[in-house]
Amino acid sequence: MQSFIWVTDLFLLVQREEKQLEASLDALLSQVADLKNSLGSFIYKLENEYDRLTWPSVLDSFALLSGQLNTLNKVLKHEKTPLFRNQVIIPLVLSPDRDEDLMRQTEGRVPVFSHEVVPDHLRTKPDPEVEEQEKQLTTDAARIGADAAQKQIQSLNKMCSNLLEKISKEERESESGGLRPNKQTFNPTDTNALVAAVAFGKGLSNWRPSGSSGPGQPGQPGAGTILAGTSGLQQVQMAGAPSQQQPMLSGVQMAPAGQPGKMPSGIKTNIKSASMHPYQR
C-alpha cells in the first residue's frame, strides 16, 4: 500500500514538473523569439540605413536588446522554472532527408536534422578558446581575494556615479545656457559701477569723498567762483571780510554768529530767509 502511494506521488510530481517545464519552455521560446526579431531589425537597420543612422537610434536598439536579455534572464531565474541544466537532449534519429515539420517549426532555417546540424544546435559547452578564456578569468578573479575584489567593485561604483553626476550637471547647465551663445551680454559689476557713477559721481573726475561735512577745499574748476564757497547770508554777516581765502574761517564764523533759524536745504527757503534778514548780525 505504502509503495503504491509513493509511486502515485512520484507520478504526480513528475507530471507537475513536466507541466512546469512545458510552461517555462513556452515562456522562454516567446522571449527568444522577441530577441531574435529585435536583433533582426537592428541588423537590417545597420545594413540598409547606415547612412541615415543616428547615434540615438542605435542606442535605442541596444537598449531594446538589453531589456529583452534582462527579461530572458528573469524568466530563467524564476522559481517556477525547473533547472534546465538537469535536462538532457539526446538526438534519437538522424536522417539526411528534408523534414517538413522541422522546416515549419524553425521557419525554414533547419531543413535537415542531420549529423552536420546536430553538433551546432545541441551544443552545451562553449568553444574551446572561449572556455580557456573563461577559465583564465575565473582563476584571476579567485587570485585577487575577496577584500581586494570588494574594494575594486566599490571604486568602480564610485567612479561611475561621479561620472553620471558630472554628465547630468553638464546637461542641466548647458540646457539653460545652450540656447544663447556662451558670452555674457552684461556684467553686473559694470552695472553697479555705472549706476554709482550716474547717481553720485563715483569714479568720475572728483576724488574728494562726496558728502563730506562742512565746507570743503576750493579745489574746484572755475577758481573765480571761490565766492561760491559761502552763501549770500554768510557774506553779508562777515561784513566784508575777504572770504575768498578762508572758507574754513568763514565756516567757523558762521556757526556762532547765530543765523536766524537753521540754514535750510531748499533753494526757495534760502532765498526767503536771505530776503527777510538781509543785514542782521
Binding site: N187, A197, G201, G214
Partner: protein
C-alpha cells in the same frame, strides 16, 4: 530734514508733482548691436536718435548733512538746444511690490548761463561726465543706452575716457505722482529685453 513722501503731498501752486520711474541695467560693448536691433524692433518707429550730452552735477552744501543736488545737462551735438536742469529727490522706499525706482523729479529748460547762475546761488560743481549713446521711445517710456565718459581735465570735454566697457541702459518714465501701473508696464517691457539686458531697480544708496 526728512520730507514726507511726495505722493502724499497735496497739489499746490498749480504744479503737479512729477515722479520719475526708473529701471537700470547695462550691456557689454560687444552686445550693443543686438540690443539696438531689438530696441528698434520693440520701440516706436522713429529714426534712431543719438545724443552726446555733457552733464554737470552741482551741490549746495548746507548745515544739514545731505547736500542739495541739481543736475545741469547740455547737448554737445545739437546747437541751440536749451540746457536742462533737473532735480531728483530721494527714491521712495515704500512699496516692495513696485517694480521700478520712484523718485520726485523736476525738469526745467534753461538758457545757457545756467552754470554761472548756479555758482552765484552758491552751488559748487561736484562732478561731471559726458554721456554718448542712443535714445528710444515707446509711448511714455524712454529708453537710453549710453556710455559714460570721465572728463580728465576739468572743464575740457574733449579729453575723455570711457568709464567702463559697458553701456548703461535706463528705462524711465516721468509721470504724475500716484500712477503705479506705470511700473507694471515698465516691467513688462523689461522682460522683453531679457536675457540681453537685465533691467532692475537698483538702489543707489546700496552702492555708496
Amino acid at each position: 530734514m526728512e520730507a514726507p513722501p511726495v505722493t502724499m503731498m497735496p497739489v499746490t501752486g498749480g504744479t503737479i508733482n512729477m515722479m520719475e520711474y526708473l529701471l537700470q541695467g547695462s550691456v557689454l560693448d560687444h552686445s550693443l548691436e543686438s540690443l539696438i536691433h531689438r530696441l528698434r524692433g520693440l520701440c516706436d518707429n522713429m529714426e534712431p536718435e543719438t545724443f552726446l550730452d555733457h552733464e554737470m552735477v552741482f551741490l549746495l552744501k548746507g548745515q544739514q548733512a545731505s547736500p542739495f543736488v541739481l543736475r545741469a545737462r547740455r547737448s554737445m551735438d545739437r546747437a541751440g538746444a536749451p540746457w536742462h536742469l533737473r532735480y531728483l529727490g530721494q527714491p521712495e522706499m515704500g512699496d516692495k511690490n513696485r517694480h521700478a525706482l520712484v523718485r520726485n523729479c523736476v525738469d526745467i529748460a534753461t538758457s545757457e548761463n545756467l552754470t554761472d547762475f548756479l555758482m552765484e546761488m552758491g552751488f559748487r560743481m561736484d562732478h561731471e561726465f559726458v554721456a554718448k549713446g542712443h535714445l528710444f521711445r515707446k509711448g511714455i517710456m524712454k529708453i537710453m543706452v549710453y556710455k559714460i565718459f570721465r572728463i580728465l581735465v576739468p572743464g575740457n570735454t574733449d579729453s575723455t575716457e570711457a568709464l567702463s566697457l559697458s553701456y548703461l541702459v535706463e528705462l524711465s518714465v516721468v509721470a504724475p505722482a500716484g500712477q503705479d501701473m506705470v511700473s507694471d508696464d515698465m516691467r513688462n517691457f523689461a522682460e522683453q529685453l531679457k536675457p540681453l539686458v537685465h533691467l532692475e531697480k537698483i538702489d543707489p544708496k546700496r552702492l555708496m
